[in-house]
Amino acid sequence: MANKKLTLALFSGSVDKLTAAGVILGGAAAEDMDVDIFVLLQAAFAFKKENAMVNDRVSEITDKKDEFLASLDRLNTPHWTEAFKTAKEMTNVKIHICGFAGKVWHGEKLEDFIDLADDICGIGEYMTSAEEADINLFI
């Protein structure tokens, strides 16, 4: 039987939503789902090599950012890049950088992004993936 498929349109470049995406990826990995992640606009900023580890922006409850980040540490929560890496090691996860999003953040080539990224693509690939997916999420 073919694996179920999760397609994730990842728009957010903030660590709170990226961490949530990492948790969902963990669930998908546990169930051997195939996963396509499309890195859109603000997420492409977070995926730039120079930003991934130093970007600490949050998008919700911003006045409690310090408490939120401290809690992630207290709970031994892996950095989102680590959660994504673990999911890639455990199941078939492909990470596609939207070409337009890359250019917005001056990332023209795959090498401009963290090694987790597999390719640069257009919206047509997202549409095809979303049509085939059992679960389609926008974060």
């Binding site: 948790v23 963990g26 669930g27 990995a29 546990a30 169930e31 709970l75 031994n76 929560t77 673990t86 455990m90």
Partner: protein, 82 residues
Amino acid sequence: MNAEELTQVKVDKSVDARGTSCPGPLLAAKKAIGQIEKGQVMEVLSADEGTRRDIPKWCNKKGFEYLGTIEESGFFKILLRK
């Protein structure tokens, strides 16, 4: 299987995931299940409340037999048979 029977089950592999939060225990179980043979029993130790609900559902989807959960002080022992 009642609580007393659960404590008598011979465990072939123990996975201590008490230091991790969701989805850490589930991923630890997924990693470890490949290290036991069909018919063997694994226990997952977790302090994460969600895991005691996740593991039975995961077992159901993956075709493993969920045996039950033993509540210890501050953590759970979740038993399953591959």
